[in-house]
């Protein structure tokens, strides 16, 4: 069908290198010797392990329980024995370890009892819950728990549901092959999403370098009797970025600060739709995924690989060449060299590229930026990468934020075109992580400050209370003594009891306060200083804040001044009878 497509600015056209891996159909990777299944495979909470070493597990059995709503369950990819629940190195550029369930397969690959359901009989909430329990996450690479994206906005009507089959990264063909071979089930999965979100239309975006996939999807849509539109979009990296595809298909631009549902759009990857269908209609949780194995290998191909399979075992299937010196997970634009060849395949692993210096020659040394602006022209988010680079380099992170560094999707277009060979994306990642670290530090410092201030206040209050108590006790004692003295006096002179009893009392009070808590004198001065300091601080705080009393009408201010003057005058007059208490 013909429809009006929109363009996004920027983008680049790297050599696609896709034909190598589409020649052969999808193959099933054999059972590996050992599976290391990381518990944290999606955005959100880390699932809690529900198995321990020695447990027998079946394929599809829950091993990690979702922690909170934004989290997805993790399952045993095959039947076997749990040999360990321990920290293992992760397929992440940091090379850090994380908690994994290690399973030794028993070779039988025996499923748990699967419960296929007709989702039409379920409530929407039940469908979402099932998806969460089945560990369905975004397989385009972001691994956001899918059920969390399947609630339509209450205020904004859902206009378009976008299904992402663009697959714009060079080398990767797993979505292409999925659509070619399993289009029917992808379409069924899309129907689930459609029924949950009730959009006005469903658009399936596929880059125009995959005509076979588009054709297969069209046929499947027709066979299912659906009205989904299969749209071929121009091949231009990063057309498969969710925001770029949304822009191309709908003309809407989703800024970093907003969710796409705020604009009435939601976007899912084709593989996510496929796994959603398998989870609901077949009761199969996500225990495997399609992985393109390509690059410096003899036989590039797509494999269905169990989650947790060591990457070197997957790579071995495609016969890597002798000079292979590493594995890139993901595409050549946004992927990364894994820290160890044995790290496991995870839900985010869409592609493994055997790395060699011949395939990806080492970069020329970094030259100074000549402000040529190529990066700005290539940036699909219309940022000014060279400006962000200056400020990131100067560690002026506030400025990088003014230039919208958090709108950067790290697609790598800027680095791709830079004639000075500046690794721009790395500078931006550095700046972003520094900003996050500083934010954390600041929050921690703020917390500590609040706690310290609270403690100080409490201590001061306790001191004051103690001093007050002591003073009261001393006063009571003095009063008692005075009363005794008065009683003696009363015994001597019977008549003016009342005046005599009252008159010496205040006289006696002064020395009593001064002498009795003599030990507290130091404390008292300290306390007074603290009190004064606190008063000053309070006054400063108040001065800093606008108050409506400051803008009193001059007439009222005059009146206040008059009252003050009168008071003072009265104080001077009454000062003569030595009645100090009144001026307090």
């Amino acid at each position: 069908m013909l429809m009006n497509l929109f363009k996004f600015k920027g983008g680049v056209k790297p050599p696609t290198n896709k034909t190598q891996s589409v020649g052969l159909p999808i193959a099933k990777a054999p059972l590996p010797s050992r599976l290391v299944v990381p518990l944290h495979q999606s955005i959100g909470g880390t699932p809690r392990p529900v198995v321990q070493a020695g447990d027998k597990v079946l394929k599809g059995q829950l091993i990690g329980e979702a922690d909170g709503w934004i989290s997805a369950a993790v399952h045993a990819p095959t039947s076997g024995t749990v040999v360990d629940v321990a920290m293992h190195v992760q397929p992440h550029p940091s090379g850090l370890d994380a908690m994994c369930v290690v399973i030794e397969p028993d070779g039988r690959d025996e499923w748990i009892a699967r419960e296929p359901v007709d989702y039409a009989t379920l409530t929407q909430e039940e469908v979402r819950e099932r998806l969460q329990q089945a560990g369905v996450v975004g397989l385009g690479g972001a691994v956001f728990p899918t059920h969390g994206k399947l609630t339509a906005s209450k205020t904004v009507p859902m206009d378009e549901l976008i299904i992402n089959g663009a697959e714009c990264e060079p080398f990767i063909t797993c979505d292409d092959l999925l659509m070619r071979e399993r289009a029917d089930e992808v379409v069924q999965g899309i129907a689930i999403f459609r029924d949950l979100l009730r959009p006005k239309k469903v658009l399936i975006g596929i880059e125009d370098n995959k005509p076979e996939a588009a054709e297969a999807m069209r046929t499947a849509v027709k066979a299912a009797g659906e009205d989904f539109a299969v749209v071929q979009v121009p091949t231009l990296y990063p057309a498969g970025g969710a925001k770029q595809l949304i822009r191309v298909l709908t003309g809407k631009e989703v800024p970093a600060a907003k969710r796409s549902t705020d604009l009435g759009v939601q976007c899912f990857n084709v593989a996510t739709a496929y796994t959603a269908w398998r989870a609901i209609a077949h009761g199969e949780p996500v225990v495997s995924r399609l992985v393109t194995v390509t690059g410096n290998v003899g036989e590039p191909r797509n494999y269905e690989v169990l989650i947790g399979t060591p990457m070197n075992e997957v790579l071995a299937l495609a016969q890597p060449k002798a000079d292979t010196d590493g594995i890139v997970m993901g595409g050549p634009m946004m992927g990364f060299l894994v820290p160890d060849m044995t790290v496991p395949v995870v839900k985010a692993t869409n592609c493994l590229i055997a790395h060699s210096e011949q395939l990806f020659p080492p970069k020329a040394p970094e030259m100074p930026c000549i402000r040529c602006g190529s990066c700005a022209q290539a940036c699909p988010h219309e940022l000014q990468p060279f400006e962000m680079y200056w400020f990131a380099r100067a560690k002026n992170f506030g400025k990088t934020q003014e230039y919208h560094i958090f709108d950067c999707i790290e697609c790598g277009c800027c680095s791709f075109v830079c004639p000075s060979r500046i690794p721009l994306v790395q500078y931006f990642r550095f700046a972003k992580s520094e900003i996050w670290a500083r934010e954390r530090d600041k929050n921690a410092a703020d917390g500590a400050k609040t706690r310290f201030e609270f403690k100080q206040e409490r201590e001061a209050r306790e001191k004051a209370e103690k001093a007050e108590k002591l003073a009261k006790a001393a006063a009571a004692q003095a009063a008692k003594k005075a009363a005794e003295a008065a009683a003696v006096a009363a015994a001597e002179t019977a008549s003016p009891t009342a005046e005599a009893a009252v008159a010496p009392a205040p006289a006696a009070e002064t020395p009593a306060v001064a002498t009795a808590p003599a030990i507290d004198a130091d404390k008292a001065t300290k306390m007074a200083t603290i009190q004064a300091a606190m008063e000053r601080a309070k006054a400063q705080r108040e001065a800093a804040q606008p108050k409506n009393t400051e803008v009193q009408a001059p007439a009222i201010q005059l009146e206040i001044a008059e009252i003050d003057a009168r008071r003072q005058a009265a104080g001077v007059e009454t000062a003569a009878p030595a009645n100090d208490q009144k001026t307090e």
């Binding site: 090379g95 631009e253 970093a256 634009m333 100074p368 190529s374 219309e382 709108d407």
Partner: protein
Amino acid sequence: MMFAPAPFLLKDTSVSRVMTQVCLALVPGIAAYAWLVGPAILVQIVIATLTALFAEALVLKLRDKPLAMFLGDGSAIVTAWLIALTFPPLAPWWLVVTATAFAIIFAKHIYGGLGQNPFNPAMVAFAVGIVSFPALMSQWPQVGLQMPLSEQIGVIFGLVPRVDALSGATPLDALKTALKLGEGSFGVAQLLANQDIYGNFAGRGWEWVSVGYLLGGLWMWQRKLITWHVPAAFVGAMTVLAGSLWLYDPAQFASPLFHIFSGGSLLGAFFIATDPVSGCTTPRGKLIFGAGAGLLAYIIRVFGGYPDGIAFAVLLMNLSAPVIDLLTQPAIFGMKDKS
């Protein structure tokens, strides 16, 4: 474990390739210059290039920078060629050497070298030349150099006395002087009718050199080395200003066509004002920069005391570039005001 950050695929490009392409784009203009005015320009280009490379190497050594990497980037060569093309073709060798060395050492490296200079080094060289040696910088051949190459080289190196006949002016300067001397007795049209000096539309010979620059510039635009903004704004603004004054009084002001194809207009519009390091980078900023340079160049060359105004126009706009960029930041994806 090795570390290499994404992207692993890179476009086949480099700074030296960019600079080489700029040099290539200058070739049509240089060819026309050498053919119609005189091969002396080639000698000047050689002098300037050697000086620039030597000065660059010297400073890189002093600054303890990798020599091969920066000498090979070609930026000094572009500066040298632009200096040679903006100086009179028979300027004495020491003038070209001094100005080029000044451009590389002071205008470029004192500020930090490649990518750091706030001013266009070639234009700084021109400014230094015309302020320090106004007479020598104003001696332009009017009708092509009617002398053998050996004599041209002789003049450049001071072996042959500078003949008075050589001490002409550019058609642009000649027109200005003639209008002043004539005090209204001749109109522009009458003066321009003298095709020996003024050629078909903008100075004999020079007009075709300008056409060469235009072709090279369009090629750079087609190769995406430059965007259309600066040249279009430069030529557009100059056309509007020159056109308005020409329509107001055609006897006093030459046509826009004459101004666009005279002096350094097209060299400036395509090769000098488009320098990314010292110019603006945002699309709107580039339009302002180009238009500002075009307007100032016209004002300086028509109402000022210098034979041409490109150099000072560009330097003045270089000064304003950071502020212009700051104020013209484009809206980013998803943050465009829809109202």
